[in-house]
Symmetry: C2
Subunit: 228 residues, 2 copies
């Protein structure tokens, strides 16, 4: 029997891998992406392509204006840091952190899960090469799972138990790339760069680009990322 | 010393009262309202007026398209139930329940709290005359509070402990109305109806109207609600 799942799909490398993993586990996937006022809005075009290529039951792009809240280099007029060393990236929470972003996205995913009758949410958070975001840790995900069961009609009526699946949480970027490649993902289609241009070409210098580039190098696989 | 607070302000009776309570406790209030594709969008006009009259440090109306998720009489083409008895309203979760709505709204409020440097979120949920929504119960609010401290930069860095204030959670509608009236609220400005018209006039027949009308009757105060 195929079970419905909701997959948070940004258009980046991680969430594409998560979609492929959920598909490989037999889930019928409802993808959800967010048009949140991000700089790298071109990732949404990537998300549409990935959803089509990997195969989903539905794909929604939900508008949520995080720009009206601000507070991040991704949603306000703050420059994206570039050329940081891996050591510098490992220290503290960077200015690209979007306040409460994963909580907002998981909440919207939870709403969709209720509508499509799913108890399984897949999210591509990763606590190894993760840029130091607080909402990418396992204990955060556990707390969200607990909340989900109290927050919803489906949870309260006892029709099931919500599960937040974060299959990448303990993987290195290289492991993620190897896994996705085995599942047939063409990472050329994905956009990770925080300031990708309109054609989806990466800057190669922001934290996200650097982590991605290192991941490909460590994986021993060729990197088809398009750079400006 | 005045502390900053984030207040979720819908434009209805409950959240207006919460704003007045937060102000009376000395908080400098940053109000946040949501344009989520609700039927009764006129409540946002009411929210703007209330924010102005009661006094806030800032007021944002954040767009979040819950209509693209659907699943509720408030955000999809499903009729709002009318003329239900109070007994019928007390049974089960009604079709006006918007999947994960309070979780989405609290998450966005949490993001704003990080930006304005606040650890105090005020929300007008109520578990007595509450239409049976799961995300209006104290245990749900406790779970969100726990999540908030794990989800955020401010929480992780230990700069403070987030608190979700729900001063109405155990009050009857009549108590809420009496409290707000003592704090000087003109409830004439608020819109509770799920299908209010463009002038903000109430239908008098949906669950929200009926609960409000009964609240005024029980409070012994006069009801200035404008009906169609």
């Amino acid at each position: 029997m195929s079970k419905p799942a909701v997959v948070l799909l940004s258009g980046g490398l991680d969430s594409a891998t998560v979609l492929a993993i959920a598909r490989s586990q037999g889930y019928v996937c409802h993808a959800i992406s967010f048009d949140y006022g991000q700089r790298h809005r071109v990732e949404l075009t990537a998300a549409q392509t990935i959803a089509k290529v990997l195969g989903v039951a539905s794909h929604r792009i939900v508008k949520v204006d995080l720009r009206s809240i601000g507070g991040s280099a991704l949603t306000a007029d703050i420059a994206v840091p570039t050329d940081r060393t891996h050591e510098a990236m490992g220290q503290g929470i960077p200015i690209t952190y979007v306040p409460a972003r994963n909580t907002v996205f998981l909440s919207l995913g939870l709403g969709l899960a209720e509508v499509v009758g799913s108890f399984d949410l897949f999210v591509g958070v990763n606590a190894v090469d993760y840029s130091g975001y607080p909402d990418c840790r396992q204990e955060y995900l556990n707390a969200f799972e607990q909340l989900a069961n109290l927050a919803t009609q489906a949870g309260v009526e006892g029709r099931g138990q919500f599960r937040i699946h974060a299959p990448l949480v303990k993987m290195t970027k290289a492991d993620i790339i190897r896994t996705g490649t085995q599942l047939g993902i063409d990472y050329h289609l994905t956009v990770s760069c925080y300031q990708a241009d309109e054609q989806g070409r990466a800057c190669g210098r922001c934290d996200s680009c650097q982590i991605r580039r290192k991941g490909f190098a460590d994986s021993g696989l060729s990197d088809a990322t398009r750079y400006v």
